[in-house]
């Protein structure tokens, strides 16, 4: 029964994630903590498994379209993996209230930034096509120190909150490093798996990944993101995004109340 509920939760998070372009981790962690009574640190570790599943499935698709810059991704992974592993290690010393407070703040911040951008989460640009082949204009990534610095921060956030960190990496590659948006999106997606694994391995060794929770979640997320990817071109994303913002705000408020009442609400 519990497993069925978790498959459903994963399915919903994967579907919403694929439709709006956000990762599932930001939804899964707070829902596991608030509605399934799982301590926040274990909720983070467990949802990291779902984040890796999503990244592996979706970036294999991007790779086949040849829009991923593996060299750039691998270079920035030096920083994201380091940030993620170190932060995941430090989280072992954080108490539950800090983590819940940080997470509530992050949920609030995410919903406000999505609203401020007029309900746009996806950074899409129309790819040029030539005989069915995706054409990418030639480019040369630059400002590596800046890119590595931002990747370190994105990795740290991933290890701290159990999320992918795409909302940081994509704009940094696109705006500062001179990478076309389509390549930046695919490469960020590609990096998420390694980033999440760097912290997930630390969480796992500490016993912070609940296997019996992670399995049904991953099954649901996998199916949900497959369906979401197929539906995405046909669905009015705007309404889905408002639904997402409503859920994020609800979770932020609930997490805040949970924090101040000492976990009784």
């Amino acid at each position: 029964m519990l497993s069925a509920l978790l498959v459903l939760l994963g399915f919903f998070a994967g579907l919403l994630g694929a439709l709006t372009g956000i990762g599932g981790g930001i939804l899964l962690t707070p829902i596991l903590a608030l509605h399934f009574g799982i301590p926040i640190r274990q909720a983070i570790g467990t949802s990291l498994v779902a984040v890796i599943t999503t990244s592996a499935a979706s970036s294999s698709v991007h790779l086949q379209r040849h829009t991923t810059d593996i060299r750039l991704g691998m270079t920035l992974e030096l920083a994201t993996a380091l940030g993620a592993a170190v932060m995941a290690y430090l989280v072992g010393y954080f108490n539950r209230n800090w983590l819940e407070g940080i997470f509530a703040g992050f949920l609030l911040y995410s919903s406000i930034t999505i609203l401020a951008r007029g309900g746009k989460v996806k950074n899409e640009e129309l790819p040029a096509h030539n005989n069915g082949e995706t054409v990418i204009p030639p480019y040369e990534p630059n400002r590596y120190p800046l890119g590595l610095g931002a990747s370190l921060v994105a990795g740290g956030l991933s290890g701290l909150l159990g999320i992918g960190g795409g909302p940081i990496k994509v704009p940094v590659m696109y705006i500062f490093m001179n990478v076309p948006l389509m390549v930046a999106t695919a490469t960020s997606n590609f990096m998420i798996g390694v980033t999440a694994a760097a912290s997930a391995i630390v969480y796992y060794r500490r016993g912070d990944i609940l296997v019996q929770i992670a399995a049904p979640l991953a099954v649901g997320v996998f199916l949900g993101s497959l369906l979401g990817a197929r539906l995405a071109p046909r669905v009015q994303t705007k309404y889905v995004v408002y639904l997402l913002v409503a859920i994020l705000l609800y979770l932020a408020v609930h997490m805040g109340i949970h924090l101040f009442t000492g976990g009784t609400a």
């Binding site: 593996i70 270079t75 030096l78 993996a81 995941a88 290690y89 798996g193 969480y203 049904p216």
Partner: protein, 99 residues
């Protein structure tokens, strides 16, 4: 791409990720089904295998890309790949014995 596009390289890395994601999905699905009919230790062990496969997939992806770079005599990106691999494996060492 910033360098020459290498479709075969992309394909090999994509294969690793797809095998990992689909493999993990079917192992975990099997775990859930066994759990439904036969609760106990066996489904738990199957689910644990699924989680470990998922954690191993990005590690194998980095290893495979590193080997492909070395085979192309691209020493710089080969070294970067093995740097990432080292960080991933250090992560495993950091977590030991902590609760």
């Amino acid at each position: 791409m910033s360098q020459v596009r290498e479709p075969a390289f992309d394909k090999a890395v994509a294969l690793v990720l797809r095998v990992g994601a689909f493999g993990c999905f079917f192992i975990m699905l099997a775990g859930l089904l066994v759990e439904f009919f036969l609760p106990g230790r066996i489904p738990h062990a199957i689910e644990r295998a699924g989680v470990l496969l998922m954690l191993a997939t990005p590690v194998v992806r980095v290893l495979v890309a590193g080997i492909l770079f070395l085979r192309e005599r691209d020493w710089k990106y080969g070294a970067i790949s093995f740097g990432v691999l080292t960080i991933l494996l250090l992560g495993a060492v950091f977590g030991i014995g902590e609760h």
